[in-house]
Symmetry: C2
């Protein structure tokens, strides 16, 4: 399979195919679609041996994923791989545990695999310039940004939702439905991650509605995985059952929390409403369907690659992109009005 076959199948010139594959802007959408369809049908993978003749550098783009087995990342990884391959690069995936340091891992990987650029998926939010100094390649934070650190905005790129605002929006939905005793399930209130940001959103929503913060309703699971979320919810139930709704910072944690609530004898949503953020496939199939704010996972992955390759190929400098969530109304929130 060569670029000629793709050109023939899509009825355009070889140089047009090349422009599409390298994501040049001067191609019409119709032509782009036709070429990419042909690429897909023929299973064409750009040949980097030929490419290497004019560009002797490595073609490796690193993707360091922190938080193994987090189902939220699956669709993002898929989108990153697709965009990286389409542009003729090779994605080098490296997955680490949440307690590991993604900067150390990334710097080591960058050296060993001669990475041209790097995407961090699910990292910390408190980088300092000293910590990122070892990373001398462009990098994009995907699904988070440097909210707690001292990095200059010009030192990196990011694609993320506004975690605090979206969490506030979720909790305000509960308040609009008449809930005032609202518990929250999170990793930690002060972990410098999405957990802390979404906790701030929770507090902002309560404050706006004049509801005082009740610390006994704040359940810290100490981890993002489902087992921890299940246990965290059980501990909450042992402490108090005096709440009518639960905001959970992620869909996968919410699935586990729903199980814990049910095992504790509570019906959803009759005894306890629940709302989350993320929008993973699985939460479509909980009983009842989880009400959640969906992050555009595939679009975030594709955007991260676009930003990174613009930097790698010197087309543009760094940039920060905010994306919005979409509400999916399930059956897990009951109105008290």
């Amino acid at each position: 399979m060569t670029i000629k076959d793709v050109a023939e199948r899509s009825g355009v010139s070889v140089s047009t195919v090349s422009r599409v594959l390298n994501d040049h802007p001067d191609v019409s959408d119709a032509v782009r679609t036709r070429v990419l369809e042909a690429v897909r049908e023929l299973h064409y993978v750009p040949n980097n041996s030929a490419r290497d003749l004019v560009r002797p550098q490595s073609d490796a783009i690193g993707l360091v994923v922190r938080g193994v087995g987090n189902p939220f990342f699956s669709a993002v990884i898929r989108a990153v791989e697709e965009a990286v391959s389409r542009a003729g690069y090779t994605m080098v995936l490296h997955q680490i545990n949440t307690e590991d340091n993604e900067l150390l891992a990334a710097a080591s990987l960058a050296r060993a695999k001669k990475l041209r650029g790097l995407i961090l998926l699910g990292g910390c939010f408190d980088y300092t310039p000293e910590q990122t100094a070892a990373l001398d390649i462009p990098f994009v934070c995907c699904s988070f940004t440097n909210s707690f650190g001292s990095l200059k905005k010009t030192a990196y790129s990011s694609v993320s939702i506004d975690d605090e605002a979206e969490a506030c929006r979720a909790v305000e939905m509960l308040i609009r439905e008449g809930h005032r005793k609202i518990a929250v399930l999170l990793d930690s209130t002060c972990d410098h991650s999405i957990s802390e940001l979404r906790y701030r959103g929770y507090r902002r929503a309560l404050e706006r509605a004049g509801i005082p913060l009740d610390r006994s309703l704040v359940a810290e699971s100490g981890d993002f995985d489902m087992a921890a979320a299940y246990k965290g919810t059980c501990r909450l139930l042992e402490r108090t059952r005096d709440f009518t709704a639960l905001f959970v910072i992620s869909d996968s944690m919410a699935v586990a929390a729903m199980k814990a609530l049910r095992d504790g004898g509570l019906r959803i949503p009759e005894d306890c409403s629940i709302i989350a953020i993320d929008g993973i496939d699985m939460s479509n199939y909980t009983v009842p369907t989880l009400t959640t704010l969906i992050q555009p996972q595939a679009a975030m992955g594709a955007e991260a690659v676009r930003i990174l390759l613009d930097m790698v190929e010197d087309r543009a400098g760094n940039r920060h992109v905010r994306v919005d969530t979409t509400l999916r109304l399930g059956g897990s929130v009951r109105s008290l009005n």
Copy 2:
């Protein structure tokens, strides 16, 4: 970070670290553990630039995953990546849809990325020697084997469960609990995949128990994804409700089927028992917990890499490994006895 730092931290010589990283057998388990801990703590990634001096070939191992978003694959991908990295190779991940041809995709990837070896995760079962001829590198089928094709056993390697026997085991569990009207939810009865094999196991269990096959209880979803499984179960319920148990060929499909049963007004397990095969994380958190036969996902990924690197590095020829499942007793099966 160099191999010297790892040697220092673990208190062994550089050559011992090298032997561990290259998976040589002449290292004690205690030393291996110590070295791997140091590798992990220091986030050491073997430096292939140095390695390339003595071995100028590519260090790329391909992983072609067919069935994007299948949560069963997550733990396998993670294990493959870990084992490939530890051995100093680079994993090149390529994900395709179930309707795509993994052999075309793999051959294209092998050429473009100069792969040394290949792991196929979730492919078809009916390869012919002509179809694999373009693949001139060693390859391992992970989680399936060439059950319907004409490949010689010596032409490839595999790691898989005995799909037919395990499906038979699952259905026999239902029969032992007194069920005789047992429906099955699968992709297709004749798709040359795990679906067809597990359907055979279903039929074998019925035959052994002297239960005649009732075609109206066979629900074909036409795809492995959750949306198709949900719709397939709804169509089954429209056709008949005259069954007390449902065998589903995969956990993720079972989660969707449980939702469809519940939406159809059936209680689990009071009105309908359910059992599956796979053992994904999420099925621990269904209500009730799904009873399932767990595949050793991480062990299968690690074994696939071991077999492949033995072939790539000329230590051993091809081989076929069968692994067993482990029963997880959830609350989704009711006894009628």
